[in-house]
């Protein structure tokens, strides 16, 4: 089962712990500028804090832009073949999310590799703003929300051990189109 990183910007506090642990894990140095995840902070209108990291796209635009076909998706991870890569940095521009990075000390682009299936950023995030979830879970929240807000539903109130509760249901035979 392929798993993917999912980011929840509303939870992110901008602390950059994800950046630090990423650089430690991949380069064994403390340097947020060598991380494959970066928190973009925008203010005051709008106020958004959003970690930007590779989505491991099934049809990777970074790969399409690569003149030497060094970027390939294997086992759910979009990888840069370090022997083929000529470090032209075209992938930095062709990624629609800007989720690849570059640093003077590092010859080739810096890109998320999901830490071999155990992402350090997910474990370290103190706000649970980065999740590592099966791909099929993506969109579940939206689906559930869609169901819960189905406007034909009726609502009745009842008491359960003295506590007031509500139950919602869709009436059979009263369907509308």
């Amino acid at each position: 089962m392929s798993k993917q990183l999912a980011v929840i910007p509303e939870r992110c506090s901008g602390c950059k712990i994800c950046e630090v642990v990423c650089s430690i894990k991949h380069f064994h140095v403390t340097n947020p500028k060598k991380s494959a995840i970066r928190v973009m902070v925008v203010y005051p209108h709008p106020v958004v804090r959003m970690p930007i990291v590779c989505s491991q796209c099934r049809i990777p635009k970074c790969s399409e832009g690569c003149p030497v076909n060094a970027i390939v998706r294997r086992n759910g991870v979009v990888e840069i073949d370090r022997d083929e890569c000529i470090s032209c940095l075209k992938c930095l521009k062709s990624c629609p999310f800007g989720a690849l990075y570059v640093h003077d000390d590092v010859e080739q682009p810096i890109k998320c590799d999901l830490c071999g299936g155990d992402p350090a950023c997910v474990k370290a995030c103190p706000k649970d703003a980065i999740l590592f979830i099966p791909e099929h879970v993506l969109g579940q929240a939206q689906r559930l929300n869609n169901v819960l807000s189905y406007y034909h539903m009726k609502e009745i109130e009842y008491f359960d051990r003295g506590e007031k509760k509500q139950i919602r249901y869709a009436e059979i035979g009263k369907e509308e189109i």
């Binding site: 506090s13 901008g14 630090v20 403390t30 500028k33 203010y43 003077d104 000390d105 103190p126």
Partner: protein, 609 residues
């Protein structure tokens, strides 16, 4: 490589704006291990500069030295490592002053490869300094004149063509040499106190922009990760961890109100009947739209708040935190959280310290109420408690030095010079306005304010909670010892470049920091040695202040603490007893090995070169 194998680049950047010129100078290991970093480096460099000028320095003159100093921990993977100190001679007090900010600025500065930056001189026209990975330029920018902190930040980023640059920037208040102007970073983090913004303004420096890419040196990264993991596990499992993320320092409003230490109506009362309208729950349920943390911090005490209805709709800011909310709220009788938010956001944009602003405006309102000020003194605009429109108007006038704002911009001392009777109702020590904790019920807190090396600030000793919770029956010596312990451990955090909140609020054992130090530097100093370094720095800042004329006469309790009993609430009737105060001051001096006038042994001066 020497004995210090991490934590430092062992280089300091010295900038002379008058020449203009800059150079990198090596830092010796002896210097590093004696002064540690942050405020320690700053105090030593300020001391050297004072000696070079025969102790005659105009804080707003080109000769004054401003040191910007993160610490050896800034930017590392350990709890709340985003702190950076600004150290100088304060224009508000004329003595040693420092202030620190969180955010990311200090981390980015360290990544340029310098441990600290020391700035003297004065640029010919309004400029900004750009430190770009070891390279330095001083870029004229007269077009930034009068711009708010946020506007200036945006324009500089645009000009340099890089959104990821971090800045320390001043607003119009700093340019206009308001004595409590602050330095702002990334919209909402401030080095608020002691007028550091005015010092940058006097040097014609609108901002310091930094961009760095270097690895931060760490001796034993695996060992550090191990120690950090332990600390993070402790913090995350703390029963108040989530609550801190939710409310941050705003949870202190209810605490302070219940304990009877919440400044209200210019410190006349110590609880506010309408505190429920400006507390953490109101903030969280009606205004909060996001969390905000400084670098490396899991506690995320910052709250991003938006006003969604009423006349301040659209006001968005990070904050207020406790101090700002108390000083611009209860202390001014304001019970509208939206108005507090607006005033806070204005102070951030204009670049002014909310604590000093809340004190000064509170004193104006009370002064007018008591007849110490006339209507003409107030530019014919009467102002009463809770009048948020007038308060906001006054904040703007101070930043522009317009009318009465021109006097208030000089701080407490200027107000007292103009209206000597105001001395009895202004809460300030050595020219610095009091932080947002009433101390009439806690003698140790009064002692902490009186002996704080920068003036009436809780930064060095925040003993009020401990004394009220555990120490009501303590002896004077126990109380004085608690103050000294705080004045030693709290500045140690400022030397290391980390935040003290994991320790003071969630009880993270301070001994963790000795383990961090050993892993980061490869030098196993131990906790006691680190504390001893911090204590030495307190002696040094005292020596600086003594040379600048400070003695026992300046370490005194305020008239308000001694003579105005708390009017209402759980602490009603409380005052500081003058004899107790005098005795605890004696005890304090003895415990510090200072003489009865509060002077350290002059021979100590040789220790500091």
């Amino acid at each position: 490589m020497g004995t210090v194998k991490g934590g430092y680049f062992k280089k300091i950047l010295k900038i002379d704006l008058s020449a203009p010129s800059w150079r990198a100078e090596p830092l010796t290991e002896e210097f590093i291990l004696k002064y540690i970093g942050g405020r320690g480096f700053g105090a030593k460099l300020v001391w050297d500069n004072l000696k070079a000028h025969d102790f005659a320095i105009n804080p707003l003159g080109p000769e004054n030295l401003l040191v910007i100093a993160p610490g050896p921990f800034t930017g590392l993977y350990l709890p709340s490592s985003g702190k950076c100190s600004f150290i100088s001679i304060s224009p508000a007090t004329g003595i040693y002053g420092d202030s620190n900010m969180g955010g990311v600025f200090g981390v980015e500065l360290r990544q340029t490869g310098y441990d600290s930056v020391a700035i003297t001189g004065r640029a010919k026209e309004l400029s900004f300094i750009f430190i770009d990975d070891g390279d330095v330029s001083i870029i004229p920018a007269p077009d930034l004149t009068g711009k708010s902190c946020l506007e200036a930040e945006g324009l500089i980023k645009q000009r340099l063509g890089d959104h990821s640059i971090h800045l320390a920037v001043i607003g119009p208040a700093g340019e206009n040499l308001v004595n409590f102007a602050c330095v702002n970073s990334d919209w909402s983090r401030n080095a608020g106190r002691t007028g550091i913004g005015a010092i940058l303004g006097s040097k014609n420096i609108k901002a310091v922009a930094v961009r760095g890419s270097k690895d931060l040196p760490v001796c034993d990264l695996d060992k550090l990760n191990e120690e950090t993991a332990k600390a993070h596990v402790y913090l995350r499992n703390h029963k108040f961890f989530k609550f801190w993320q939710e409310q941050g320092l705003m949870c202190v409003i209810d605490y302070a109100d219940n304990m009877g230490i919440l400044p209200t109506y210019n410190f006349r009362d110590s609880s506010f009947s309408r505190s429920q309208a400006i507390n953490g729950f109101v903030m969280e349920s009606k205004y909060k739209i996001g969390d905000s943390a400084c670098f490396g911090c899991s506690m995320a005490c910052g709250n991003i708040c938006l006003v969604k209805e009423g006349k301040y709709t659209g006001t968005v800011t990070e904050g207020p935190e406790y101090e700002s909310c108390a000083m611009l709220g209860s202390n001014l009788g304001v019970d509208k959280f939206s108005a507090v938010l607006k005033a806070n956001s204005l102070c951030d944009e204009l670049g002014m310290d909310t604590i000093s602003v809340g004190n000064l405006i509170g004193a104006m309102i009370e002064g007018y109420e008591q007849g110490l000020l006339t209507l003409a003194d107030l530019d014919s605009e009467p102002i009463v408690w809770g009048d948020d429109g007038k308060i906001i108007n006054l904040i703007e006038k101070i930043s522009r030095r317009e009318g009465i704002g021109d006097i208030l911009a000089g701080g407490s001392r200027a107000v007292i010079r103009r209206w000597p009777k105001m001395a009895s109702i202004l809460s300030q020590v050595k020219g610095l306005e009091q932080s947002a904790y009433d101390c009439r019920a806690a003698l140790s807190m009064a002692l902490g304010y009186a002996t704080c090396d920068v003036g009436a600030h809780h930064t060095r000793a925040w003993t009020v909670a401990k004394e009220l919770e555990d120490g009501q029956n303590w002896t004077l010596e126990e109380k004085a010892n608690l103050v000294i312990y705080h004045q030693t451990v709290r500045p140690l955090f400022d030397m290391l470049g980390v935040c003290r909140l994991p320790w003071i609020e969630l009880g993270l054992n301070e001994r963790h920091y000795a383990a961090f130090f050993s892993a980061v530097t490869g030098v196993d100093l131990g906790f006691e040695e680190l504390m001893s370094r911090s204590r030495d720095i307190y002696d040094l800042t005292r020596l600086i202040n003594v040379r600048l004329g400070i003695s026992r006469k300046d370490d005194q309790a305020l008239t308000r603490w001694l003579k105005d009993p708390v009017r209402t609430g759980v602490r009603a009737g409380k005052i500081v007893d003058p004899d107790d105060f005098s005795r605890i001051l004696d005890t304090y001096y003895q415990l510090r090995n200072w003489d009865e006038e509060g002077r350290p042994d002059p021979k100590l001066e040789h220790q500091f070169g």
